[in-house]
């Protein structure tokens, strides 16, 4: 376990509330300050990664474009909860590339392997 590893769990769908966006902002800020950051999208948070989002129609910025910026902030550990995808009739093909799909066991290990978990 890294000395000060942070796991950000993003659990809200985009656009309906601001929490999806501000959760991502918090992860990006922590990474830009040199923290060891991982992100996990689960529950309704998996909707943040659905491809071909067109939020300009409702005057919003594209949330998945922000998620796509994660590698640029050196956030190499990017995960999606498989169970959450399945429950929503989604699969790896429906979401943006660059995220590793984890089963429940792997999610448990991921959580156990971080010093802090911040959930949005």
């Amino acid at each position: 376990m890294a000395d000060n590893s942070l796991l950000f769990i993003l659990r809200t769908a985009p656009y309906g509330s601001c929490l999806a966006r501000e959760g991502l902002e918090a992860a990006l800020a922590a990474a830009s300050l040199g923290q060891s950051v991982s992100v996990l999208f689960m529950d309704d948070g998996v909707f943040q990664l659905v491809n071909d989002q067109q939020p300009a129609h409702i005057g919003q910025k594209n949330n998945s474009a922000m998620a796509a910026a994660l590698p640029m902030y050196d956030i190499e550990q990017r995960y999606v909860d498989e169970h959450s995808l399945n429950n929503r009739k989604l699969s790896a093909e429906n979401i943006d590339r660059g995220f590793t799909v984890l089963n429940s066991d792997a999610v448990q290990k991921l959580m156990a392997g971080h010093r802090h978990i911040v959930s949005f």
Partner: protein
């Protein structure tokens, strides 16, 4: 143990802030420390000087204030979340040419997300209220 709290809910519309305050008081009474309370998302409304609950209801801003004064806990309001929601300190009010700010200074401080990273670094546990 040293705790920091993240509060995501506005007072008056969400239980999060009240639960966080109760947790903080219970932890302090048990001999633990609260290093920082980081108000983020709708939680920034906790720092508004203009909170005016009806008679008989607690004013949570006052409660945070006395907790901070008594125990030295930092009350940090995220500047990006705050400005988006109309919570402004005197410096920002001047910058944007507003008549006045509404953040309860100096008990609450408007600061960046770096303070959340700092809280993670300094604390044994980081606990989120409001999600």
């Amino acid at each position: 143990m040293k705790f920091s709290l993240i509060v995501l809910g506005a007072p008056g519309s969400h239980q999060a802030a009240s639960s966080a305050l109760r947790f903080a008081n219970a932890a302090l009474e048990s001999g633990h420390q609260i290093y920082r309370v980081f108000f983020y998302n709708d939680g920034v409304h906790n720092g508004s000087q203009l909170l005016t609950p009806p008679q008989g209801e607690d004013n949570i801003r006052e409660a945070w204030k006395s907790l901070g004064e008594k125990h030295g806990t930092r009350m940090t309001v995220c500047i990006a979340s705050a400005l988006r929601r109309g919570i402004v300190d005197s410096e920002e009010a001047e910058r944007y040419d507003y008549n006045s700010g509404n953040l309860d200074e100096p008990n609450f401080k408007l600061q960046g997300l770096g303070e959340l990273a700092d809280a993670a670094l300094q604390s044994d546990r980081l606990i989120t209220f409001g999600r």
